[in-house]
Amino acid sequence: MSAPKTEAASPLLTVSDLHVQYKRPGWRTPPLKAVDGVSFTMAEHETVGLVGESGSGKSTIGRALLGLAPVAGGQMILNEHDITHAQAGDRRHIARDLQVIFQDPYGSLNPARTIGKTLTEPLEAAADADTKNALQEIRSLLTQVRLPEDSVNRYPNAFSGGQRQRIAIARAMAVRPKLIVCDEAISALDVVTQAQVLNLLGQLQKETGVAFLFIAHNLPVVSYFSDRVLVLYRGRIMESGDADAIHHQPAHPYSQALRAAVPVPDVIEQRKLRQQRREVVRVTTAQAKPAPEQGCPFAPRCPYAADPCWTKRPIDAAYNGRTVACHIFDAESGHPQAGQTEALVAGQLQPTA
């Protein structure tokens, strides 16, 4: 797979042809391909969104970067260091550039340790940490995430979900990393808290220039918060490009389905969207056949699926500055509707039988 348009100079993060596989129980069961050949780059200060449903591999990509998932192939270069097969001991150094905010703020903080101790941990682990100034540092971190300074001596159970997520953000920011993986960091929060946390992350990015790998399943949220978006399905990139463009004019049939699935808070608009979704999605997930081993993983649910979709893996075709892994966008794919991209994007393409 070719990487999307390369950034200036050396990018902050280069992921090329990443494969992550999980062993499955059973003697001859083939491993589960959680990530199946994903490539992308990230520049400093940039926010890249990974969006897709459960099993799309979006979180696994984040976990592979963090050394929490078994990498089966490919390469990950962060800040000019190859971190693909970093050992536990290398993590101290990587941690200074790379941190994480997890989804579940109830599980990500050790309930038996005070906020102060939780926030000191990454500082201690960083090789050059000056533990004398740690307390000072923590107080300023807490102010930065809009929590009272006296939170230091409290335990996580004294805080609400939104406040805990702020603490998790403070922990991630403690060592001033260049990149933070936000693994569904706002998915468990209600809409007001979600907006508060997104605003906080945006503010911190402006102040510190940190880059975010923003993982979520809600396309509107991801495209609001990201510069670029990668739409993933079953471990592969379906579409990548400018966030606004993908949000307002999704090109890949899967991106279209994803876009139409998120309800909008307007009765009339939502009615239209529902109608649109009925056209885009012919098969419910419950009815879908298994994905072909070769071919396009979305074929079983795609209204435009034709013979090549079942047999040949789509290439990353260029479309208006994005890449779209769909045979319709590849004139030479042999798909009967190949080349009818405008009709597809406008939602006027005739579904195949």
Partner: protein, 670 residues
């Protein structure tokens, strides 16, 4: 990835205590709970007595335990010899005092050895896994296959009955159990998110093990320690009974049992004092261990919803703090189509001080057949509590007052037995976590079959047919295959379909859906909403749906009841709430949605958080976060005001809500 959520626990009191006190670890909590049982206190008291009297044996014993006096053989208890004497005329009481110490100390050695071996290796192997795990498992299997008594007796022969060596060997043999326990607990904790976070930060393996994992292991380990100690104690007693390990001359409990058993038929009293002491000591140790084991939480499981208990509430608690004041809203006669009426519902929890704290405060709404009423609001606004209370289900300690009428029948006064009949057959629940709602041990067929049998009865084949029919009803294509599968084989969407099928099994007229799609992917969410909509149309269901997503409200709702801090603040048809909200809180919720937001611009959001119930003001509860708040908002309770046909809002400035002002400016019709 689904969010593991427990049943929502209202934050009534804990926050206040929690800010100052450290959260107790699960072990400390278990100990605290165990100490409330009188039998545990009794056991502890006995052990303390045994230890103290053994330590002070020299001072306390009235006679020398070795002092023989053949003139006073086999005495029964009397003034000089409190517990009588043995065949050499030695004082039994003094011998018991002296005979325990060595045993109590010797039993510590296997405990120490097995902990020293089992804990570090269990931690390491559990954390690392892989090959180390397989090797260690093999060694432990070998250890387990060795009969401890035979080995220790063999060692006794070789080492010339050296007690230290024998107890150490015993420790090695039993260390496998400790290893297994530590390894299992470590494996369960190594994938916790906070352990991942430490790993990402490059915290060293040793630090992670001791800082984040060992504390989780400690609780079960201490419990196991008690059981192991009592086991070792008994084992050593048996050894000395066999005449191995302890010097036959010095008093020992095992030796005393041996002597007594030799003369059991002629002098049965000999066995009574020592028998009692031994049994009481071992039983105390075992009881302590077991009590801790049963009070120790095995996992952080969701708090169980328990059927409503109805203690007599003081009238203040039953009424809530703000009486509904709805001028101009005439009580309409109950409509034939109205399935569920909730009136002045108050849900309260008792605080540690004994006062009743409402978390839902005078909520009223009604649901017609074929209609969906959405309860909307942030976490902590009482929407889930409202929904659960209509089902007669609340977390432990909660109670409801007011009125909930289902098809004209009052539910809050029903007994639990009557309510159990209603639940499932007339009103059913769809929960947020389909995977938690299903029992992993039973197939879909048997779980659904059980519900069908309970609600409808019928022969086995009728039940089976009905199960398949239900599965077809919820849009599952290959019903036979799904019926045979177990919950872990289902995807989240499929599991939620099965849960919906279970809810429909009793042909209910009302469905309460508590965030039914929050844990699901958008594509699956859309499918489940489609399913709910079509079921509602075909079956004429009345639905109460709890959600914080206004998109879901737009998709499926007819009426929106926006809740804030335990109250309904706006109640109106969904189109109206979403297009022209008449309460600033509804407006705030709507603005926080990122749909039309511009990238790089901060999202308009409501500052601050929902106040905890104990902090609810008597005046407008939203005033502290409201952009429109004026002095009049802070003078007294705000009633629900009629602000249009079928619309009520708890805001005295509802005409000035930003969007409304905007619309008035542009001349649009309201």
């Amino acid at each position: 990835m689904s969010v593991p959520t427990a049943a929502p626990v209202p934050e009534v009191a804990p926050a206040a205590a929690a800010t100052t006190a450290a959260p107790r670890g699960s072990f400390a909590l278990a100990l605290h709970k165990a100490l409330r049982r009188p039998s545990v206190l009794l056991a502890l008291g006995w052990l303390a007595l045994v230890i103290i009297s053994s330590v002070l044996a020299g001072v306390l014993s009235p006679h020398d335990p070795l002092d023989q006096d053949l003139t006073v053989r086999f005495q029964l208890p009397n003034g000089t010899y409190w517990l009588g004497t043995d065949e050499l005329g030695r004082d039994l009481f003094s011998r018991i005092l002296h005979g325990g110490g060595a045993l109590l100390i010797a039993a510590l050695i296997p405990l120490l050895v097995s902990f020293l071996l089992g804990v570090p290796s269990g931690l390491f192997v559990g954390y690392v896994g892989g090959k180390a795990d397989r090797i260690a498992d093999f060694i432990v299997n070998v250890l387990f296959s060795i009969p401890a008594l035979v080995i220790v007796l063999a060692v006794a022969v070789i080492s010339d009955a050296n007690l230290l060596i024998m107890t150490a060997v015993l420790g090695v043999v039993v260390s496998g159990g400790i290893f297994r326990l530590v390894r299992a607990t470590t494996q369960a904790s190594r994938d916790l998110l906070y352990v991942d976070a430490a790993r990402v930060s490059g915290v060293s393996r040793m630090t992670i093990l001791f800082r984040h994992i060992l504390p989780n292991v400690l609780g079960p380990l201490i419990v196991q320690g008690f059981l192991l100690y009592s086991g070792a104690f008994l084992f050593l007693t048996s050894l000395s009974f066999l005449g191995v390990g302890f010097d036959p001359e010095t008093p020992s409990w095992g030796r005393m049992v041996f002597d007594a058993s030799a003369r059991l038929s002629q002098r049965p009293w000999l066995m009574v004092p020592i028998g009692f002491v031994l049994i009481a000591t071992v039983a105390s140790l075992n009881h302590l261990g077991n009590s801790l084991l049963t009070t120790l939480p095995t996992s952080s499981r969701a708090r169980l919803l328990t059927p409503l208990k109805r203690p007599h509430l003081p009238s203040s608690a039953a009424r809530g703090t703000t009486p509904e004041m709805v001028p101009g809203r005439a009580k309409e006669p109950t409509h034939a189509d109205i399935a569920l009426v909730v009136e002045d519902l108050v849900v309260s929890f008792q605080t540690p001080s004994g006062a009743w704290q409402p978390v839902v405060d005078g909520v009223s709404f009604e649901v017609q057949r074929g209609q969906t009423v959405c309860l909307v609001g942030e976490s902590g606004c009482g929407k889930t509590m409202t929904a659960l209370a209509t089902m007669g289900l609340l977390p432990e300690g909660g109670t409801a007052a007011g009125s909930v009428r289902l098809n004209g029948r009052e539910l809050l006064t029903l007994s639990e037995k009557e309510m159990a009949q209603v639940r499932g057959s007339q009103i059913a629940l769809i929960s947020q976590e389909p995977m938690v709602a299903l029992d992993p041990c039973f197939s879909v067929r048997s779980q659904l079959g059980e519900v069908v049998k309970l609600r409808r009865g019928g022969s086995r084949s009728e039940v089976r047919e009905r199960v398949l029919e239900l599965l077809r009803l919820v849009g599952i294509p290959n019903v036979q295959a799904v019926a045979k599968s177990y919950p872990h084989q289902l995807s989240g969407g499929m599991a939620q379909r099965v849960c919906i099928a279970a809810a429909l099994a009793g042909d209910p007229s009302v469905i309460v859906a508590d965030e039914p799609t929050t844990a699901l992917d958008p594509t699956i969410q859309a499918e489940i909403l489609d399913l709910l909509r079509s079921l509602q149309e075909t079956l004429g269901l009345a639905v109460v749906l709890v959600t914080h997503d206004l998109g879901v409200v737009a998709d499926i709702g007819d009426i929106a009841a926006v809740m804030y801090a335990g109250q309904v603040v706006e109640l109106a048809p969904v189109e109206q709430v979403l297009s022209a909200p008449r309460h600033p809180y509804s407006q705030g919720l709507l603005d926080a949605m990122p749909e039309d937001a511009q990238r790089g611009e901060p999202l308009p959001t409501i500052a601050g958080v929902v106040p905890l119930p104990k902090d609810w003001p008597t005046h407008c509860r939203f005033a502290a976060r409201c952009p429109l708040a004026i002095d009049a908002c802070r003078t007294g309770p705000i009633p629900l005001l009629v602000v249009g046909e079928n619309r009520i809002s708890r805001c005295i400035r509802s005409d000035e809500s930003p969007k409304i002002a905007e619309l008035v400016d542009s001349g649009a019709e309201l």
